[in-house]
């Protein structure tokens, strides 16, 4: 068995930074010498944009992989080929809504991605699944195929509530889909955090200027600690991260000195450690 780790990036909210994490952590892993495949499961196709690629023809998308008679010919494209040869992408786009609907008809709907990856293994050290913003069939398929789940979250009440429901869904699914070994939650990544002008962010991150009282509800990091789920260092909201994405570059090559590069490195390091502890 080749050593390969697959990580699902999920959040149950839009704009939390799933594609941003997928792209930047993927690039960081490649910079460390690993080969990486990025899968864009989100019908919004943001991964395509963030990779600076044109929308692929429908027949060369992940849709092909989600067919019963997939022949193992993965629709992979090189990504940032001027900078690296170690990142490939498998793109989705709008067609993924159809793919999700068709999944329902398949015998092994939730297992199709895992099955195909088992039958036609990819040589990459890591595969990152960029999942849609709301829980659907594609999530089941990604979860079933994954070793770990990474959850970016903007610390607004609405998003935290959504992430809590995502967690519940993950634990439920591990039981109902009988996933063995079960995928583990690698951690939450507080992202787009605005401590300066958002009281909600400060409170939820446990970084309020007010004195803490007994009536205060637990912060997100407290809560995660209680559930023994790792919480990564927070990533500050920054226009530059979005700017890099819109021109289709990883932040590291667009703004090498940007503070968030450290965050992506931190996450990549944890992922590398998981890979080495697997062997």
């Amino acid at each position: 068995m080749p050593k390969q780790l697959r990580i699902a990036v999920m959040s149950n909210a839009g704009g939390s930074g799933k594609s941003t994490l997928t792209v930047n952590v993927g690039y960081e892993l490649a910079a460390q010498g690993y080969s990486v495949a990025l899968f864009g499961l989100d019908p919004n196709g943001s991964l395509t944009l963030f990779c600076g690629l044109p929308d692929p023809p429908v027949e060369d998308t992940l849709n092909r992989v989600f067919q019963k008679d997939f022949d193992g010919n993965w629709p992979l494209f090189n990504c940032w080929s001027e900078k690296t040869s170690r990142v490939q992408v498998c793109l989705g786009g709008l067609i993924m809504t159809e793919a999700a609907q068709r999944l329902v008809l398949l015998d092994r709907k939730a297992y199709i991605l895992a099955d195909h990856l088992e039958d036609y293994p990819l040589p990459h050290d890591f595969i990152l699944f960029d999942c849609p913003g709301t829980i659907d069939m594609l999530h089941s398929a990604a979860l079933t195929a994954s070793n770990y789940v990474l959850i970016p979250i903007q610390p607004d009440d609405k998003d935290i509530d959504g992430a809590a429901k995502l967690l519940e869904w993950i634990f439920d699914s591990i039981r109902t889909l009988r996933l063995k070994p079960a995928p583990e939650i690698m951690g939450f990544v507080p992202n787009r955090v605005r401590l300066g002008d958002r009281a909600q962010h400060r409170d939820n991150m446990g970084l309020s200027n007010r004195e803490k009282t007994a009536q205060d509800p637990p912060s997100l990091p407290d809560m995660l600690a209680a559930m023994k789920i790792h919480c990564f260092s927070l990533i500050k909201d920054s226009a530059e991260i979005g700017n890099a994405a819109s021109i289709g570059l990883p932040l590291k090559s667009y703004r090498p000195a940007h503070a968030a590069n450290k965050n992506f490195k931190e996450i990549a390091r944890v992922i590398q450690k998981k890979l080495s502890s697997q062997s």
Partner: protein, 362 residues
């Protein structure tokens, strides 16, 4: 709070926490089953050359952080000697199970007696299987391995089962007995199903609401079933006895000096502390049977009753009557309540006849 939020983070995550717990329970069940078959296989396969041997000096008893303790606390001298003889004859038949520690030592999960015997015999190497385990996993396996061997005494076994359930459900050991009693009562008194039990216990807000799910109750039952017991019998027969048993008796049982049922017989007698420790000592040194213990208790009780009678019984009854009368005298309601008139007249009559008899006394 500066900011108003109708749903605190803890509420948001409540359902996720429950689901996480249920998933952990299912996973633990599977682990335990896998582990049990591994342990059985371990016990049944004779040592082959494939099992790695390690220096006896590198082994050490399992070290756990505060709050988690080893199930076995005592090592019976006789049993150790027996094991030593067997090891001398045929060697160590079953590899130890150990985990590697940061300081290079091998912490023993299963096989501490074999290790102690081997040290006393001066063996330099021991066969062992090394497995990376967290503190909780290590304790869980140690508990299961010990329980499976069935050579723990009853107090150690009960302690272990409680520890195992507490560990799996992630609740403190102190709180578990009251939860078990509650489930047992709801079942035996009202024949409640798990769903009904859960409903009752959820209403009981302060204590148990967050802890128990239907799956958790089913899991407790499954653990008892694994060791051929039921929650009801465990609570009724053992927990009650364990909770009421004075520490001196518990210690004696833990150290294997006296059997559990003998200790329980002594406990039920309700003797004074001094009488209890004397009887316990006699039971241990003379190795009394349960019947002999019972006879001793009867004798002790008869003697103490005689003593009580001899010591101014009259004065005691006078004081008692005096005290009750003092209390009633000033309570106007007692003298006015129609229902009590009959009793009061009876009392008056009795006092009269006692006075008359007193007048006849020399």
């Amino acid at each position: 709070m500066a900011r108003h939020s109708s749903r605190p983070v803890s509420t948001m995550f409540a359902a996720a926490q429950t689901s996480q717990l249920e998933t952990q329970i299912v996973q633990k069940d599977e682990e335990i089953n896998a582990l049990k078959s591994q342990l059985v296989a371990l016990a049944n396969t004779p040592i082959s050359s494939s099992v790695q041997r390690y220096l006896t000096a590198d082994f050490i008893a399992l070290r756990l952080p505060d709050g988690l303790t080893q199930p076995r606390k005592y090592f019976d001298r006789l049993a150790l000697d027996k094991l030593k003889t067997s090891i001398q004859k045929v060697g160590i038949q079953e590899p130890l199970l150990v985990r590697p520690a940061d300081d290079g030592k091998l912490e023993i999960i299963s096989g501490e007696r074999r290790w102690r015997s081997a040290m006393e015999l001066g063996l330099t190497q021991l066969p062992a299987l090394v497995k990376e385990l967290s503190d909780e996993e290590a304790l869980e396996i140690a508990l299961v391995a010990n329980l499976m061997r069935e050579d723990l005494n009853l107090v150690e076994e009960s302690d272990s089962i409680i520890a195992l359930i507490a560990l799996r459900l992630k609740i403190s050991r102190d709180r578990l007995p009251s939860i078990l009693f509650k489930i047992k009562n709801l079942r035996s008194r009202y024949r409640y199903t798990n769903t009904e039990i859960l409903a009752v216990m959820t209403e009981d807000k302060a204590e148990n609401s967050r802890i128990l799910s239907k799956e958790a109750i089913a899991d407790i039952d499954a653990i008892f079933a694994e060791f051929s017991m039921t929650l009801e019998s465990f609570a009724a027969n053992r927990l009650t006895a364990l909770q009421k048993m004075p520490e001196s008796l518990l210690e004696a049982v833990r150290q294997g000096k006296v059997g559990f049922s003998k200790a329980d017989t002594i406990r039920k007698a309700g003797l004074s502390e001094q009488a209890l420790s004397l009887l316990l000592e006699e039971a241990v040194t003379a190795d009394l049977t349960k019947q002999e213990i019972r006879t001793k208790i009867q004798a002790l009780k008869a003697r103490s009753q005689l003593l009580e009678k001899a010591e101014e019984p009259e004065k005691q009854i006078r004081d008692r009557i005096h005290a009750s009368y003092q209390r009633l005298r000033t309570n106007q309601k007692v003298w006015e309540t129609p229902k009590l008139q009959k009793h009061l007249r009876q009392m008056e009559k009795l006092l009269q006849s006692i006075s008359e008899a007193a007048a006849q006394l020399p």
